[in-house]
Amino acid sequence: MSDHIATDLLPSATPVRYLAEDGTTVDGPAGYPRPSTEELREAHRRMVVGRRFDAQATALTKQGRLAVYPSSHGQEACQIAAAMVLREDDWLFPTYRDTMAMVTRGLDPVEALGLLRGDAHCGYDPNATRTAPQCTPLSTQTLHATGLAYALRRKGTDSAVLALIGDGATSEGDFHEALNFAAVFEAPVVFLVQNNGFAISVPLEKQTKAPSLAYKGVGYGVRSEQVDGNDPVAMLAVLHKAFEHARAGAPFLVEAHTYRIEAHTNADDATRYRNSDEVDRWLDADPLARLEKHLRTLGALTDEDVAAAQADGERLAADLRSRMNADPHLDPMTLFDHVYARPTTQLVEQRDLLATELKAQEG
């Protein structure tokens, strides 16, 4: 209950940053492991590919190939860092907005898009990919992440869990309960809040009067930090540190200050609630451009490197395009699968009804 403990838990007064918006280095706080140049080169490549993926998914949505797509354009530093700090045995709990992080993690892009395409609730195998289904009920996944993290610890592993959540979703009660459970049970979980300024149309200042969302940690005894979410160097540094803590049984809360460049989803009209000046200002803080400049200054990135990354992106996009342009074959009879391990007699009756209907339609 001492002052000291409380101070330890508080975030830095301003977001951790190592790269200025123009890509030059600035003096960030000590105590965070600086990512290696190799790691930053890899981050750059993945950001190029990730952004290309996002653009392709947006395009496919316009063509009617996805039911809905929430873009993470502008949040690439968060998305890529999230995927890169995870070991293969760690778990990721993504929301609907985090498909880029999932693809970066290595999920098959078509499988990753199952929910948003509309052919499945979850197109991939969560166990095989160590990636929970994308969650739409806001903030509920933070509790699942906490429970799973505790399970991993109980099983004697040092695997950890990353729960992604948006700024708006931090207002839900489940987030509060997750932070509390994580602390009480010393669950190896990192909560990464991607504060992209909006919950659909609602700006952060209507969402909270907190000095910053990272200040929510102290009320649970959870260590926290705020970070420039468009600075890939800072994102990697802080998340690495957060995982170190988490693996030692101390959950960690990270708030990344970033911005959603596109509308909430393709169905949203952002001009109703914000003006393009604001978007332009944030485009100047673009995380990819920032990292590219930084690496070039270091002499660690050549035109060929950039071209190679772009080619990777094009390959992924082309593959995605062609595979998504076929209509998936879906069997309505699967509706009755997996409601229970074995269907109840009621479900068997209903399945028979549907089978009869389908036969009648064919015949």
């Binding site: 009920p137 207002s171 609602v202 109703r272 009755f336 209907e357």
Partner: protein
């Protein structure tokens, strides 16, 4: 006269209620500047000011509990839950407090508030965006539960709901938001609780509500072509339930099909069937048959059409109403007896 959509009718109802009574406030997620994700609150903040229509933090229990407190303070909150499944975080506030406050305090504290819940499917929404959640509310004493199926009902029922002295769960069938009618919106001043006979018929009664009403009406038109004359009842108010209209019809036709989009098992349709057989037993020439969504989680968009009660499925049920002497073997198989 210009065609009006259900979405516009709801917007007009909010406007007219806000104009008529300054205690009426509209709030929820994205209802302000954006006008709601379905634009039901479009322009309200602009036209009535941020004091009357405003965004809240993203927390449904918060919205409902806060609204209850405001109702205690003399306001009439109309809150929006963005989608059906996103009202579940508010479930405790709704069942333990909103529903019970009048009863708990023996009439001293009343909660004249409206909780708007866009519900049901048919719009290609992803999981958790298409639940038919009415059964949870109708079973909770103290709540009224209302759902429009026509453009004018959307207007008049919402106005009545706002005027009602009790809390009303106002369930808006999402897929009908863009349905249109060429009408002048009229406020018909009658308390909630009346069903409407949408089509008169003598051979059997179809009972439906919300998103299933157009399905029932289409089925009736199709049946008419085959010489079967169906009556169609649109319940409009699930609680209070209009026994009078329903029983009168079924006693006359002697046959009945209940259509609902929600999963059938222990859905609201079960209550309708139970009441009918309790009250019209000797008038019934055949069992009352339910046509409902399957007992499965709402399917992904590409499969929802197989799940939703279709016109064909309703006609099939009508066929099973034993107009002839052939026995219905369908249920006998399951029962092994």
């Amino acid at each position: 006269m210009a065609a009006t959509t259900m979405a516009q009718a709801l917007n007009r109802a909010l406007r007219d209620s806000m104009t008529a009574d300054e205690r009426v406030l509209v709030f929820g997620e994205d209802v302000g500047q954006l006008g709601g994700v379905f634009r039901i609150t479009d322009g309200l903040t602009r036209d009535f000011g941020e004091d009357r229509c405003f965004d809240t933090p993203l927390a449904e229990a918060g919205i409902v509990g806060f609204a209850l407190g405001m109702a205690m303070g003399g306001f009439k909150p109309v809150v929006e839950m963005q989608f059906d499944a996103f009202a579940y975080p508010a479930f405790e506030q709704i069942t333990s407090h909103v529903a019970k406050m009048r009863n708990r305090t023996r009439g001293h504290l009343t909660v004249p508030m409206v909780i708007r819940v866009p519900y049901a499917g048919g719009i290609g929404g992803v999981e958790h965006h298409c639940d038919s959640s009415e059964a949870y509310y109708v079973h909770t004493p103290g709540l009224k539960v209302v759902t429009p199926a026509t453009v004018n009902d959307a207007y008049t029922l919402l106005r009545e709901a706002i005027d009602d002295p009790d809390p009303v769960i106002f369930m808006e069938p999402k897929k009908l938001y863009w349905s249109k009618e060429d009408i002048e919106l009229r406020h018909i001043d009658e308390p909630l609780g009346h069903a409407a006979v949408r089509r008169h018929g003598k051979d059997a009664t179809l009972i439906a509500y919300g998103p299933s009403v157009p399905v029932a009406l289409q089925a009736a038109e199709a049946a008419a072509e085959e010489g079967v004359d169906l009556e169609v009842i649109d319940l409009r108010s699930l609680v209070p339930f209009d026994d009078d209209t329903v029983m009168r019809s079924v006693r006359r036709t002697g046959r009945c099909v209940v259509v609902q989009e929600a999963s059938g098992f222990a859905g609201f349709g079960a209550e309708i069937v139970a009441r009918i057989q309790e009250r019209c037993f000797h008038s019934l020439a055949a069992p009352v048959i339910r046509v409902a969504g399957f007992d499965i989680p709402y399917p992904p968009p590409m499969l929802e059409h197989s799940h939703l009660p279709s016109v064909d499925r309703v006609l099939d049920a009508v066929d099973r109403l034993q107009f002839t002497d052939e026995p219905d073997h369908r249920y006998l198989t399951g029962a092994h007896s």
